[in-house]
Symmetry: C2
Subunit: 510 residues, 2 copies
């Protein structure tokens, strides 16, 4: 066996260039969503399509397959485990690319683009029937995709399982049902409890929503970031229609936020959320550019990514200790205290009001929005639920889980973009993020003591330091469940999340 | 002969993709200079190098040469002249690419990058001797480049002539000497006249430089752009360390400015200047995306490009009628009139003070800065001027032309970046811009009446409309001198510029 050095170096050089191309797309995406004039959109679409084509070519070409095969042939038992894991993940990704019929890839790209456009119109008109044929087509194409990929997946993988792999490696729907069962069993009753408490407390329980001047919101976001390790030589922030974070290079991180009229704390909390994503990206293993182009330098899973944003948004910024520290600053900036004290401010950071819209949902009802979508995806893909019956099923389940009924499909099954682009298997990662965040926070508490005490002392650096050691460097050396097990010593479960929620609800209801 | 249709379409598709790649570089350049965090620089450098490599490949590959040859074989006398011109220009560019030894291209790229880095340090230390070896190497490499290109150029082209072609097609140094002779003969005396007038008038002649709050400067720039046809759906403006404009797509134009402490009107005038560049780019022929990927959709020359920015900056924004219209607005915004009336404001827009630094030079001395550089370039490349003697030569000529002597090389021959990157042949385009602007303005006056009257009436749209008809659509269907002849009916000369300058000086000295 030859020394693996040259083969690995050739492969690394190829991956490096692939990463360069991908990061150019990220830079264009950032530009598009922060400053690009609207008339630039068609040309930008062409630029991104050109890069996507080059990326696909680099990730599926015979020349690349040869590089992977040569590297595989050159490694042996004495090769470091991390290198062998990298090669296994590259092989897995390559096999998936190779098994797909190019005609299907093209058909899917077109159906996604068409689906998105039709969905935009159907949603505006609250007319599901206009969207139904596009959804039907996307389901058929995704089923075909799963069929083509099946031979590369473990025995017994279902259609839904196969489609969820890019978001949550190794996940199974059976496991998700197990994880989500306690949410279904517990959250509706907890919600009802909150509802009754709020009704008996009358108006006083409704959160106050004063106008916070844009400049003040801007300053608070800047102060928040500075106190959480923002470094302007490596990071840049801007405004966009929807908050996001993206990585443009190994030392170039961008985040965005928006100011929402009538939601004075939205920009602040969104900044906390996006910064959580960015901290994770910044903490992924890329010392000396070593892992950056390799799979181990990538995020463990979407669920783990989301756990990091939710930790900083919900666990820290929506926490009581944080409210105590920031209430005086916000009040000083505003020159008034419309919340009538820190308790009111803290309640304003934690509105508990079940609603119909997922992206506006609170911590308590969010999981139920996901359970609903997960079960409907499985029903559509695997259990024969006819597309035409989706609205009826959606509304019935919404009533059962959240006690609410959409007035129309715009606030019902047409609200999310995911299915309009054929993204099935993505939603559960959002809920897994809550579960993982809670279990990781338990482990953190065991390691460094109560989180709230650290926050009270203004020592979020301790939380960041622990995550930087225990969570961020794992990258794709593990999957999401393995990460939780490694960090907490226990298998992933919903219990830490439910325990956290119950405690918070009790505290909020005083 | 086959129908040219398919061959031209194949070529167009190739050029379209080349333009897409080039515009991705522009978008990255814009991002880099407006928002990119500093630590992102090395990765950005790699991204741009990757794109540059792809661009070079697309513009010199055998496959591309084949596309050009096939298109050439398919066209005939009945093919539209514009198409044949496009093919001739593509052939010329291709031959230049093909004649260059790839080893020279690599050596030049490295020497430019090294030259830039060494120059940065040498300039900071005002130490020409540290930079001299790098300059010597760049001169040798450029001489070699000219030697390799010579066979593709008209008989009798000198080294300098060949190197200037990318900036000013078809230019000859002999022609530039002719054009610049009147500047050398006239400007020093005119400068002396101004100097004496200012000395006799005492302090009163010194322009006032009050502080203009940043928000006010920002608002004035926005109002200026709006009144000059800025359309936020196609344009975007931002801040950068040095003002620039760039085109990111057929309907995506960016410009930047900066606020300079102590120079209250700098941002305003720079905005006028960059918007002039952008208007030109926006007006290049690209109806229905027809010419955008073809040479005819490109700027005529750097001199013509500069003429458009200088027209809006000097002819319009520094004009008396414009000062009359904007003085009240600026005074209202400031709540005071530190200029003591419109005459003082107009003088502040036109400081006439010869200085050592080109980029800070006024309209009167700017041309002399260029003459100095042009003559020194020719001396270095063709007349055996030893690099070691550059500082002495520079200082002697500066004294002769402007009556000033640099205290050190930082404010002397180390001030510009151009030679540090081996850019010889570029400087004259700046002066040509002044000449072309003045001659085009004469033609405009003949066509639509006095420019100042239009400006007084707030009707800059008439100037824009005339340029949009007479100048912008010509693209590379002509070279710079042909453009001037076509627009004005006379060969390019320095007379219109000198006449304009004399008139303005007389008026300013009241």
């Amino acid at each position: 066996m030859a020394s693996p050095g040259p083969a690995l170096e050739a492969l690394r050089a190829h991956l490096h260039q692939t990463r360069l191309l991908g990061s150019i797309s990220s830079a264009l995406y950032y530009d598009q969503n922060t400053v690009m004039p609207s008339a630039g959109a068609p040309w930008r679409g062409e630029q991104l399509a050109l890069l996507a084509g080059q990326l696909h070519e680099r990730q599926s070409s015979p020349a690349y397959a040869e590089l992977v095969a040569t590297a595989e042939a050159a490694v042996g038992e004495e090769t470091p485990a991390a290198t062998r894991r990298n090669l296994r993940l590259l092989r897995q990704d390559l096999e998936r690319q190779q098994r797909l019929d190019p005609a299907l890839v093209t058909a899917l790209a077109k159906a996604q683009s068409r689906g998105n456009a039709i969905w935009q119109e159907a949603r505006a008109a609250a007319d599901f029937s206009a969207f139904a044929p596009a959804l039907e087509e996307l389901i058929q194409l995704r089923r075909e995709q799963a069929r083509q990929l099946a031979a590369a997946e473990p025995e017994g993988s279902s259609v839904w399982d196969i489609l969820a792999q890019p978001f949550e490696p190794d996940i199974r729907k059976s496991r998700l049902r197990e994880l989500f069962a306690p949410l279904k069993a517990t959250l509706p009753a907890l919600l009802e409890e909150v509802r009754q408490h709020q009704a008996s407390a009358g108006e006083a329980a409704a959160p106050v929503t004063p106008e916070l001047p844009e400049a003040l919101q801007e300053r608070l976001c800047a102060e928040l970031l500075t106190s959480w390790g923002y470094d302007a030589s490596r990071c840049q922030r801007a405004r966009s229609a929807h908050p996001f974070s993206c990585t443009v290079g190994p030392a170039d991180f961008r985040i965005t936020t928006r100011v929402v009229p009538g939601q004075p704390l939205s920009a602040f909390l969104a900044t906390a959320h996006e910064w959580g994503h960015s901290l994770y990206e910044q903490g992924l293993p890329r010392v000396d550019d070593h892992w950056f182009p390799w799979p181990l330098g990538e995020a463990t899973s979407m669920g783990v990514h989301e756990s990091q944003s939710l930790f900083w948004e919900c666990r820290v910024a929506r926490g009581r200790a944080f409210a105590e520290r920031w209430h005086p600053r916000v009040v000083a900036g505003l020159g008034a205290d419309p919340w009538g004290g820190v308790a009111g401010f803290w309640r304003a950071l934690n509105p508990l009001r079940p609603g119909l819209i997922r992206v506006e949902a609170d911590e308590l009802s969010y999981g139920l929005h996901i359970v609903l979508r997960f079960e409907l995806e499985v029903a559509l893909l695997e259990e024969g639920l006819p597309v035409a019956e989706l609205p009826r099923e959606w509304n019935a389940r919404m009533e059962r889980l959240l006690g609410l009924t959409p007035a129309n499909d715009r606030e019902g099954c047409l609200q999310d973009i995911h299915w309009a682009e054929g993204l099935f298997g993505y939603f559960p990662s959002y809920a897994l993020g809550h579960l993982i965040s809670a279990q990781v926070a338990e482990a953190m508490t065991e390691a460094i003591g109560p989180i709230e005490e650290r926050i009270a002392a203004g020592d979020e650096a301790a939380l960041r330091g622990w995550l930087a050691e225990a969570v961020w460097p794992l990258g794709r050396s593990v999957n999401g469940e393995e990460l939780v097990a490694a960090v907490s010593g226990r298998p992933l479960s919903a219990e830490p999340f439910l325990a956290y929620l119950k405690g918070k609800v009790a505290q909020l209801m005083g």
